[in-house]
Structure formats: C-alpha cells, structure tokens
C-alpha cells in the first residue's frame, strides 16, 4: 500500500509545494546529485578515523528497553560488563545516542536523558505526528508532521533549545545523523544532507534507479537505499545510479524472506523496536573508488530471529550461530563484531568472519527485552574466541520446534548437507526419524541426502538400515527409501569395500523382509545394484524367483522394472540363466517376461 501511495504523495507534494513558494527547505526542484556539493558535504562531517562509539566516553554501550509498566531503559557498558543505570520510562520510539545524552520519544514528548545517570535532562513536545528522531554527539533531530507540513527540527543535546527547523510539503522519513550532519529522506526519492548546526541543506541525492527508504549510519559511514540494496555514501553517490555508485546487494536466501538491510524510514511502526529488527542484513564495508560496494572480509551476516548466519559474497553459508532458547531482538555490526541482545538479556558478540563467539554477557534483567540500540562502533572484545560449532548450530536450527522457522530449517539442512562427514549424515537422518519434523523439511533432507554423495556417510547410512519393523519394539524403518537412495548416490564414489559389504547385507535384510513396501523395495534394489559390484546379484536373483509368480509383488510394474534393471545392468551367465528361466516360466506375472526379454535380448 505504501508503495502505491508514494506516487500520490509526490503529486500532492508537487501541488502543495507550488503553492508554498521557495521558502521550504525540502523542495521538488532543487540542485541534486551535485558532485562538488556532495564532496563538500562529506568533507564537512566530523567523523572518527576508526569506528568509535558516539558517546563522549567512547565506551561501547548498549541501551536496552525492557517490557513492563512502565518500561525500563537499561544502560549497559559492554566493555566493563556492568549495568550503568536503569530508569523507568514510557519509551515509544527507538533510543538514540548522543555524546552525553540519549533521546527517545517518551509518551508524547521528546525526552533527552543524561547518559551517565539516566535522569531526564530536557523534554520538548512534539507537534502533530511524530515521524522519527536521531542524534549525533551534540544535537537531536526530530521529524514530525503537522497538518500537511513535515518538519525537521534540531535541538541542542545539552539543553533542548531549538536550534533550527526546516519544513517540507512532502513526506519526510525518519532521519539519521552523525558527525554534525543529518540525513533526511524525502519523498522516498531523495536523501537530503543537512548541516546539523545551521539547518542549511548541504546537498541532496536523488535515487535514479533505486528508492531511498532505508538509512543506516555508523560512526564513520552512512548507507542509504531500500529493500533492494544499499549505497555506501561517498563521492560516487552523486551519480544517483547503482552502477556508478558504491552499491551493494547481498544474496538473501529465500528462506530468510523477511530480512531487510535496515528499518524503513517511512514506516511509523519501525521507528520503535519491532520484530523487523530481528531480520537484518549485517555488514561493514571498505572504501572504494570503483566497482560495487566491497564488503569487509567479502561476506556479510544475516540476523534472523534467534539465528545469525554468516555468508560469503557468493551467498554460500560460512557459519551459523544459534542463540540458546530465545531470540536475539537487536543486532549491530560494530565493525569488528556482530553484537546482539537476546530477549532474556543475554548479550553476545560474534566474529563476523568466522562466527566465533567473542563475548557473552548478561544484562541481568528479568523483564523481557523489547529492543536495544547499540553505541558500540569499534567494540572488539579482547576475550579469546569460543570454538566455532557451525554443525552444532545448523543442527540446532534444523531441530528447532518453532514452526515459524520451517524455511530456515530447510536452509540450515541445505547448508549442513554441504559439509562432509558421517556426523552430518547422522544429523540429517535424525531429521527423517523425527516425527515432528515438517514434511517439507523431510523432503528437503531426502533430496540433500541423495545429492550429498559423501562416501564417509556409508557407515551411518548402513546403521540407519538396522531399524526394522518390529511389533514388540514398536519400530519401523526410518526413511528406508531415502537412505537407499542416498546409498545409491554413492555408487560413483570411492567406497570402503568392508563398508560396502556391510551395507549390502543391511540392504538385503530389507530386501528379504516381508514388510518392506514396494516403493521402498524399488530403492533398496536400486541401491544394491548401484554399489554391489556383482555381489548383490545372487540376492536379487533369489528375490526375483521368489516373487516372479506372486500375485501382488510380482504384478507391480515398479518392482518388475527395479528388479529387472538391477539384474540386467551387467548380467553374468548365472543371471542370464535365471532371467531366461523367469522369462519362459508360464507362471511369471504379465509384463515381467516382456521386460526381461527387452533387457537381455533373445537367446
């Protein structure tokens, strides 16, 4: 709906702007994509040389909002692992961090609090509708809508004194700020860069082939873009085009469909902490002068509820982290780690390149965490990284009982299947054995097992065959067809002869078992023929003879094809004798003789 309304908003804005004259700061016709002005604007920013927190103490902090009546702000020192303070507050927006203050919408007012103690420092009323707020080290920037006019206003972080305001007859989105400039998205098409000190428009960018609805600002870099991708703000942004700017699009697996690059500046819901914060692309990038955006370490991560998944630029999963029991409600790439806060107050720092956990802390809160704002750019915990357990994490994801994550489980199973080793095969088989696993996931796992072709898995697959129909033990074979197909898939790999012998014996037990269903039997026969190398022929011949005149099994075309294929792939003299006997036996079921004759030809 929003997408549909935006063109309308533009039209309305055009009409309204025409009536209001040139006084407005945000206008439809204005200088834009001006390389010189952009260069000047960028140069005017006061940004640190390395990733650094905004707060004047330059300590990595996180400001957490917990549920309750009233809600509570918890200020937490990430480096020291201490709660700095807690304060009850009716917070209705996200929290933004300045130099020595934090700011948020509390009730109907913008309230700045002393960052050292949490006490309210100043409050200002918001006229009309609150759109968004932002802060840099010294100032607070507020966007509100009053009637048909949107306002961007600046207040001194120290006193709340209004410094300036600029109006717009078209829709302004929630702003972002750093280093003395404020970024104001305008009508989803422009990004206006305003001098935070004076309110003067420094320049503005127009997205020629990309909407501008999402902003992400770190201590050093500003990103802007949309759900499609993000631009790194630099001199090349003046082109306004993806191909000529520092633009990046990561591969977001379809299984993580809710993932976005950041909050939508035009969505009022996302100006507070929401579930949208739990599905984010997390990245950092390096400055470049040509080509697309260069992601640090050639990879990125996706925070998806309780999981964080690391990917390479090619979209291949590199690592996985699964947070125990509860979801991560907020996350941020600090440049060196991915920091996350869980619903239960756990804080975790993850190495972006490897997925190793670098730090675990706890806020010690009992109330559920609603959301959090990190001011932790450059935070790099000094503790040694924990061993990476991607297999364990993927297994945890696959086994997750939460039905919301069924697609994620498919993704994890797919990633798991690409890893070598018998343990992985065991875990995949465990999915098939789990009666509560979704059918679609099981189907995925079957396909993955077949495609896996990991010779080290033969032993595990054989073990799986040990489960048989047993009335007393109340057992049934688990995924017999899938296991047989997976074994057949190993035919072209180098297999341990002893393991092949064991696998053949296990398969033959199912071949000879009375309760093996015909569909399963077809795959068992195919598996034996695939890996047997001739050792399976006696068993298959015996099976053919046993059932060639049987009314039920012998008449099943699928079984007929499987057994004939199995015996005629490379028939030796003995197989030919048996096949000819069956082909000539008057008791053989219709179709079987014809199939054999077609396979081995006339005498």
């Amino acid at each position: 709906m929003r997408q549909l309304l935006r063109p309308l908003a533009v039209v309305v804005a055009v009409a309204t702007l025409g009536a209001c004259g040139p006084k407005q700061a945000f206008r439809l016709s204005s200088d834009e994509n001006n390389a010189y002005a952009l260069r000047e604007a960028l140069a005017s920013r006061q940004l640190p040389a390395s990733p650094t927190p905004t707060n004047t103490s330059k300590q990595p902090r996180v400001f957490v909002l917990t549920a309750g009546s009233p809600k509570t702000i918890v200020a937490y020192d990430l480096a020291a692992g201490n709660v700095l303070w807690k304060a009850d507050a009716d917070v209705q927006s996200r929290i933004f961090v300045g130099g020595d203050f934090i700011v948020a919408l509390e009730g109907k007012q913008i309230v700045a609090r002393d960052q050292g103690r949490g006490a309210p420092r100043w409050k200002v009323d918001v006229d009309g509708t609150f759109i968004g707020v932002a802060a840099d080290a010294e100032r607070v920037y507020v966007v509100n809508r009053d009637g048909n006019t949107w306002w961007l206003s600046a207040y001194a972080g120290s006193s709340g004194a209004e410094l300036w305001s600029a109006d717009a007859a078209g829709q302004l989105g929630a702003p972002a700020a750093h280093g003395g400039v404020v970024y104001a998205p305008f009508l989803a098409q422009w990004l206006t860069i305003v001098d935070g000190r004076t309110g003067k428009t420094l320049t503005r960018l127009r997205g020629i082939d990309e909407q501008i609805s999402t902003l992400r600002v770190t201590s050093q870099v500003a990103y802007y873009g949309s759900k499609q991708g993000m631009f790194r703000l630099d001199e090349r942004s003046a082109s306004g085009k993806r191909a000529e700017a520092t633009y990046g699009q990561v591969k977001i697996p379809v299984h993580l469909e809710r993932t976005t690059y950041g909050r939508d500046a035009y969505d009022p819901i996302q100006q507070s902490y929401t579930a949208a914060d739990r599905a984010r692309v997390l990245w950092s990038s390096e400055a470049t002068t040509e080509g697309p955006m260069k992601l640090t370490d050639d990879g990125y991560a996706i925070h998806y509820f309780r999981y964080v998944l690391g990917f390479g630029n090619d979209g291949e999963l590199r690592w996985a982290y699964s947070h125990p029991r509860v979801e991560l409600v907020a996350s941020e790439h600090t440049g060196y780690v991915i920091a996350g806060v869980a619903a239960n107050g756990d804080v975790v720092a993850i190495e972006p390149r490897t997925g190793a956990v670098r730090a675990r802390k706890s806020l010690g809160t009992t109330a559920p965490v609603l959301g959090a704002t990190f001011d932790a750019d450059g935070w790099a915990p000094s503790s040694a990284p924990e061993p990476v357990d991607t297999v364990g994490a993927l297994v945890t994801i696959v086994r997750d009982r939460d039905a919301r994550f069924d697609r994620v489980k498919e993704l994890a199973a797919g990633a798991l299947a690409k890893l070598p080793g018998a343990q992985v095969t065991s875990e995949l088989l465990a999915v098939l054995a789990d009666p509560r696993a979704p059918v679609r996931l099981k189907d995925t796992v079957v396909d993955l097992l077949v495609a896996r072709r990991d010779p080290a898995s033969l032993g595990v697959l054989t073990q799986q065959l040990a489960i048989k129909t047993d009335y007393l033990a109340q057992t049934e074979p688990d995924a017999l067809a899938a296991v047989a197909k997976a074994i057949a898939g190993l035919a072209t790999t180098a297999l341990d002869p002893a393991q092949v012998t064991a696998a053949l014996a296990a398969l033959q037990e199912h071949l000879d078992a009375p309760n093996t269903s015909s569909p399963d039997l077809v795959h068992v026969i195919a598996a034996m023929a695939a890996i047997g190398g001739g050792a399976e022929r006696a068993a298959l011949a015996s099976h053919l003879l046993l059932y060639h005149a049987d009314e039920d099994r012998g008449s099943d075309p699928a079984w007929q094809k499987a057994i004939v294929d199995g015996l005629t792939a490379k028939p030796g003299p003995q197989e030919r004798v048996v096949l000819r006997y069956v082909a000539q036996d008057a008791r053989s079921k219709p179709g079987l003789a014809t199939m054999i004759q077609a396979a081995i030809g006339p005498d």
């Binding site: 129909t469 047993d470 009335y471 007393l472 033990a473 000879d512 078992a513 009375p514 309760n515 006696a538 068993a539 011949a541 015996s542 053919l544 003879l545 046993l546 059932y547 060639h548 005149a549 049987d550 009314e551 039920d552 099994r553 003995q574 004798v577 048996v578 006997y581 036996d585 008057a586 008791r587």
Partner: protein
C-alpha cells in the same frame, strides 16, 4: 554355505533340470529309484494351474522318496506362488532334512503372511538355531496371524529362545503366546508366569496357567498346586472355568492336592450360588 551360494548352486542345477540331491537325505531303505517319483506330479508342481500345483505339492510331500523331497526343494528354490508354496512347505517338512532350513527361512520372510506362517510353523520343528531364529523373528511380525503361528510353533517345537519375546506378547494379551508358553513351561517358567498377575491381562494369564495344568507331562503336583493357587487369585471369571476344567479332566484317584485345592477354590468362588 551362505544363502546366496546355496542359492546359486541350487538354482543352476534346478533350472537345468539336474537332480540337486540338495536334501542330503539318505535314500530310504528299500526305497525305489528316483525315477519312481511320478514325473507328471513334478511337472504339475511347476505348472500355472495353481490348483493342480498345490495338489502336486501335497502328493510330493506325502511321498517318502528322496526324489519327491528334492522336487519340492527345487520348486521352492525357483519360486512358488503362495497358493502352492504353503502346501509345498508343509509337505517338505513332513520328511525334514537339514537343507530344508535355508529354503524355509527364505519363505519365512515372504511378503504373504500365510506363506511365512507356514514356513515359521515348520521351522520350529528343525533343531537348528537359525531355524529357531526365524521363529523368534516371527514373534515380532506386525501381522497377528504370523505371530500366532510363531508362538504356537515355538511351544510345539520347545523353542526356548522364544520365551522372552513370548512373555512380551503375553503381556500384550496374545493368547497364542499364552498357550505356547504353557507348552514350554517347566516349574521355573510356570512360577514366573504365576508371578505375572497384574502385569498380564487376567484372561490371558488364565489361558497360560490353565493350559499348563492340562499338561499330563507337567509336574510335580506341588508345582501344580502353586499354579492352582495362582489361578485362584485371578478375579476374571475364566479363572473358575480353568479350574473347573482341570477338576473335570483329573481323575479323583489317586488323590492330588492340586485337584483338592482347585475344588476348594471353585467352591469358595461359586459359594452361595
């Protein structure tokens, strides 16, 4: 020799029509030559006329000649439809020989429950651990008819390794296992069965204990007394019937304590009626 190797040898010889002599069965004293087995019967066994084939299987089973037995083995090796396999299996076991076990085990895993019931039933009669293993496997079969056949066969064949799974089936209320266990029971097993009160459906336990009482070969009487008392503790009406049956089936003289105990319990249970 493994199943597979035996199969290849047997099949190759059977298909080309040579005598297998696979039975290892010595020619019967005074028996006629193999040629005396009617050729037309052997031919009928392999015909598409299932009724005629089944009749031929019965005839060959009744024939004591080694050639008849070999003909059945050959036919089973080459595969018989269920309607013919059942009489062939039964006929084969009328003159048991060690090589039968491999053939019967193959049919003990047949998809048709009647066929595997027949094979399991006959396997219990062979003093071969692998044959008994197939009987035990039959006790785990999901088809009740096959489990019943296995339990009955285990009792008849005194297959001791079947006791434990049959105890599990007893707990599930399967009467065939109750009767089979009764056939297998010695004093120790009978006491173990008597201890199952509360763990096994009452009526099923009565079947097991009542069947033991009926066994003429079971004793001494002191153990029967224990069984009578165990039955007396069972509240199911079938308990009184079992004791009554025992009283009726046991002569008054010589006096047996177990019978007297049974009479006292029945009088007490039926008192006032």
């Amino acid at each position: 020799m493994t199943h597979a190797r035996w199969l290849w040898v047997g099949l190759a010889l059977a298909i080309v029509g040579a005598p297998t002599h696979a039975t290892g069965q010595p020619a019967k004293k005074g028996a006629a030559k193999k040629a005396e087995v009617p050729r037309e019967v052997i031919t009928a066994l392999g015909s598409a006329d299932l009724e005629a084939a089944a009749k031929a299987a019965e005839q060959l089973g009744a024939n004591p000649l080694a050639g008849a037995h070999d003909a059945l083995l050959d036919a089973l090796a080459l595969g018989l439809p269920p309607a013919v396999a059942v009489p062939a299996i039964t006929g084969l076991a009328l003159h048991p020989a060690p090589p039968d076990v491999l053939a019967l085990r193959r049919y003990a895993g047949h998809a048709n429950p009647s066929v595997r019931s027949a094979a399991i039933t006959e396997l219990a009669g062979y003093p071969d651990p692998t044959a008994h293993g197939a009987v035990v496997a039959g006790l785990r079969d999901p088809v009740g008819m096959v489990r019943n056949a296995a339990a009955t066969a285990a009792g008849r064949g005194r297959v001791k390794v079947a006791i434990e799974p049959m105890m599990q089936l007893l707990a599930k209320g399967e009467e065939a296992s109750a009767r089979g266990l009764a056939q297998l029971a010695d004093p120790d097993l009978s006491r173990k069965l008597a201890d199952q009160l509360g763990k096994v459906p009452d009526a099923t336990l009565v079947v097991a204990l009542g069947t033991i009482l009926k066994r003429a070969d079971f004793g001494p009487d002191a153990v029967k007394v224990e069984i009578v008392r165990a039955i007396g503790k069972i509240q199911d009406p079938s308990a009184v019937n079992a004791l009554t049956d025992y009283i009726d089936a046991t002569p008054k003289m010589p006096v047996r304590t177990s019978r007297q105990e049974a009479m006292l319990i029945v009088e007490a249970r039926l008192g006032g009626k």
